[in-house]
């Protein structure tokens, strides 16, 4: 990782306008290293647009008019235009890839784009991806033939090893048939700035900051509140229960003996 990327301490989002062209009702959104934020709101409220602004390090030149600062300053041009210096890795909802390359070639080209030459990086990335999915990914598989879950797993692993950026954006990772808890654990251990766009109650509530969107604008920024702790515990228990039942259904079992 380059020195410039490693030294980022904080990002700031300054308001733009809502879908009606009105100023967004928030002052600023600050996220520090090690902080996890969730972005919530109904479909079409502008969640993806918000993290896209962060990914592109918008300088009032996107549809929302927002500006993103790094350590309180507009980012240098390299951060925006040179993939090797880009401090952001984003995992989109997209699970379709058009690149007609083998997995190992794809990762090798991406490593070159990020100016990394460490040997073993490609194998490491594939091994990490295989921890997130039950369907094994082989180095020779064509990217275009991977399933949705495999693609998602590979892209998350790629974001953590090859992009290795201090800011990671994840857009609805919960709905792609991957091992959510493993992904969460791996990501939390990295000490990065993590932003989840999510409809998942567990991911939403566990974040230190909850950013609420409506009609294209940020309407609330909620900090973690200890009084929500009991609710968070209950949601985790409920979620574990659901995972268990889901796995049984996926395995073709009947649920005649289950009381929910």
């Amino acid at each position: 990782m380059s020195g410039a990327r490693a030294m980022i301490r904080e990002i700031t989002v300054l308001p733009g306008t809502t879908k009606d062209g009105r100023p967004e009702p928030f002052q600023r959104l600050d996220l520090r290293v090690g902080e996890i934020a969730s972005v919530v709101g109904p479909t079409g409220s502008g969640k993806t647009a918000l993290i896209t602004d962060i990914e592109l390090l918008a300088q009032r030149d996107t549809a929302t008019g927002r500006q993103v600062l790094i350590d309180g300053e507009p980012p240098p041009d390299d951060f925006r235009y040179d993939p090797a210096s880009r401090p952001v890795a984003m995992i989109t909802q997209n699970t379709k890839c058009f690149t007609d390359l083998a997995v190992e070639d794809f990762l090798a080209v991406h490593a070159r784009a990020r100016r990394l030459s460490r040997s073993g990086l490609v194998a490491e990335t594939i091994a990490l991806a295989n921890r997130f999915t039950g369907e094994k990914i082989t180095p020779e598989a064509r990217i275009t033939t991977l399933s949705g879950g495999q693609t998602r797993s590979l892209m998350i692993a790629d974001a953590l090893t090859i992009s290795a950026a201090p800011i990671v954006l994840l857009d609805e990772i919960e709905n792609a048939g991957i091992f959510k808890q493993d992904v969460l654990e791996t990501i939390r251990a990295t000490g990065k700035i993590i932003i989840f766009v999510t409809h998942d109650p567990v991911i939403a509530i566990l974040a230190q900051k909850r950013v609420v969107l409506a009609n294209g604008g940020v309407v609330k920024i909620l900090a973690w509140d200890d009084r929500e702790q009991p609710a968070a515990q209950a949601l985790i228990a409920l979620d574990n229960r659901l995972v268990e039942v889901r796995e049984r259904l996926r395995a073709g079992e009947t649920l005649c003996d289950v009381t929910i």
């Binding site: 592109l56 300088q59 030149d61 925006r80 993939p83 974001a159």
Partner: protein, 236 residues
């Protein structure tokens, strides 16, 4: 007057990009737009209606559109200059990808879609290699890693070309492109030349023949087998 020539395959997003450029310039600069297409084009009326700028179009019909472009560019520069335009934007039809319509002055921009296939950049040749700037569009349709792989493929094949990425429908991240256009040098209309020689000076099929087989054609022909030196057929 400044000049921007935009090329790229059909449906890559050339017009969407041009709209963003016009949107950024039309209030402070007088913009003229020329569209070169083959059979039908609507951009001239669309852009005139949307921005109130000067527009023109030409249909190449039976002629190769890049050839038609070369024929009319002199007139187009005169037309835009005569109308006191500050910025002339030329959009080519971009079909066979062999020619580069860029001139020795002004900026040449090639537009590529990020979903166009990983080998497209190396297949396109002069249309990219002679451009100043490559703009990769439709980035909202692919993931970041995939975009970076696509950009890297362009950078590796054409290290001299500056690469930008955008969602052209929304015009994201284009400020630096606008800055480059604004900072480009004014053209000297008397000294305009193509940047590269078109690959074929004469195409016998283009001028009304339907026959296949090299025996029916003259000028620069090619046989299925044979080295480059055998290309030139000078008659029996």
């Amino acid at each position: 007057m400044r000049l921007v020539v935009v090329a790229g395959p059909p449906s890559a997003g050339k017009t969407a990009l041009i709209k963003q450029i016009i949107r950024s310039f039309h209030q402070r600069r007088r913009v003229a737009f020329l569209k070169i297409d083959v059979v039908r084009a609507f951009e001239d009326t669309e852009l005139r209606r949307e921005f109130g700028i000067l527009t023109a179009k030409i249909y190449s019909g039976d002629l190769c559109p890049d050839h038609a472009g070369v024929m009319v560019l002199g007139d187009a520069v005169e037309w835009a200059n005569g109308a006191s335009a500050d910025l002339l934007i030329v959009e080519s039809a971009g079909l066979c990808l062999r020619c580069a319509p860029y001139l020795n002055q002004g900026l040449g921009i090639v537009v590529l879609s990020s979903i166009s296939g990983i080998h497209t950049p190396v297949k396109m040749g002069a249309m990219i290699s002679l451009a100043d700037i490559a703009v990769v569009t439709k980035i909202d349709l692919v993931g970041q890693a995939e975009r970076e792989v696509f950009l890297q493929k362009i950078r590796e094949a054409y290290p001299r070309v500056r690469v930008f990425e955008t969602n052209a429908l929304q015009g994201t991240s284009l400020q630096r492109l606008y800055d480059l256009i604004a900072a480009s040098e004014e053209i000297d209309p008397g000294r305009l030349l193509l940047r590269g020689v078109p690959p074929l000076g004469t195409c016998t099929i283009c001028v009304g023949k339907k026959e296949i087989g090299w025996q029916h054609h003259f000028g620069v022909v090619r046989k299925l087998e044979g080295e480059a030196a055998d290309y030139l057929f000078r008659g029996e």
